[in-house]
Symmetry: C2
Subunit: 233 residues, 2 copies
DNA sequence: TGTACATCAGTGAACGCGCGTTCACTGATGTAC
DNA sequence: TGTACATCAGTGAACGCGCGTTCACTGATGTAC
């Protein structure tokens, strides 16, 4: 797997293009990814970029893939920073990492979870596995907790509605999650809340209501964990 | 307050401009609101539009205001469709209206809660009151429930963290909500979750995980209501 | 009721700028014998 | 070790399209006397 000099240079240029694109997204929004603007910043002609990405859409797809993987990396790292049997702590660390990543890479977060880019359609066979990677971290911890008899959902959660229950069971099978239904449901249920808080914070809606978004975020996660019978050290 | 013939025509044209802008948003995204494209569709020259909106940004501001108010209307109507003392039912109806509005007016929802439009900055003194209007419906119901001894938060929620608690108390005072702290907290806590679910559904992330988004949405609301000691009829 | 004048809606040209993509090309770097 | 040839990075012109905003203007509608 050694790279020739040429291959390395080529890889560098591909990375440089993406990193300038990210800067432009940060400054002008995800709809402003422009090959011409990138070329201008690199001191190249536009046409040179076509050697590296055959079209605008291909560049966007590459950025989306990178973003999902970078987010999943952050979550995995946070998870492995905690002792294996401290499930609540692991989940807290992972969700804090999720938020921190979103705030530090807000343009990337908008790219993968915000308004679609007009005219662009992500190839699902490429993006879906990358999404799953991050989500698997969360449900994985919940499944471990359950396997060790630590997951104690309160009564309300014990009877999932029929379609949701059926669909999730099917999904677990299909995507090879290899876990029971409960962790899957808890993962989704908690995730949508964290996601909502982060989205609102990112677009300046919650700070004006909540004062200290991080404190609020921690408090809410803690409450959710308690609902599942999990407690922090 | 009667309008002259001219004023009525003028008002009609202003509305027509907005409604075409909405169609374009729906088709091309919020970043694609373009005076030239609207003029083209109306069979006018661009410059004619400047009689109705002095700039692109003014049009966007008008669309945002309309959206917040239309959403608040939907929530208020849903609320008043339920008997006054059925607090859980009222909250359920309001949150279902919130979701229905978001799905039916997805471009408007993206406009007010999604990625910011590059280069546009909403004048907060105009938009904030409109946001508050919708939110007031939710916390209003919770406050009524509490005043009638129906709000029974479970233990976890009784000790809010210091900054959040202080900030919300201050906010209640400042914006004249005239309610205790608990309903405010519960309103925010529930709202962020509903918001997350809707955002993820809108951008096609949850349907692939949950199967039946509406069933899931109802189930989650119901659980939140139970957490607050409220039950549906 | 008729006329003069003011108000308003809409035009058309222009300024200065942006975009993605295709094509035929130059000149440097790497490879095979 | 030197040379011939293939590969690759990058150029520059062109196509056909988009945008917001300013300016001096025409012609219809409404208003005051």
């Amino acid at each position: 797997m050694t790279m020739t000099r040429r291959e390395r240079l080529r890889e560098n240029t591909r990375e440089e293009i993406k990193s300038i694109a990210r800067r432009h997204m940060q400054e002008q929004g995800t709809a402003a990814i422009s090959l011409r603007a990138i070329a201008r910043d690199m001191g190249l002609t536009v046409t040179a970029l076509y050697r590296y990405y055959p079209s605008h859409d291909d560049l966007v797809t590459a950025l989306i893939l990178d973003a999902f993987n970078s987010l999943a990396d952050a979550m995995e790292n946070a998870d492995s920073s905690q002792p294996r049997e401290r499930y609540a702590n692991r989940l807290m660390a992972v969700m804090l990492a999720y938020r921190a990543w979103a705030l530090q890479n807000s343009a990337d977060f908008q790219l993968i979870y915000g308004n679609p880019i007009p005219g662009y359609h992500a190839p699902r066979e490429i993006t879906v596995p990358a999404v799953v990677r991050g989500f698997r971290v969360v449900v994985g911890i919940l499944a471990e907790a359950m396997a060790n008899g630590q997951l104690h959902p309160s009564v309300e959660y014990q009877q999932l509605p029929p379609h949701v229950s059926a669909f999730m069971t099917e999904l677990i099978e299909q995507d090879g999650y290899n876990i029971p239904l409960e962790p899957m449901y808890f993962g989704v249920s908690g995730w949508v809340k964290m996601h909502g808080m982060i989205m609102l914070e990112l677009f300046q809606h919650t700070p004006a209501v909540v004062g200290d978004p991080e404190e609020f975020y921690r408090f809410e996660i803690n409450n959710i964990l308690k609902t599942a019978g999990l407690t922090l050290d």
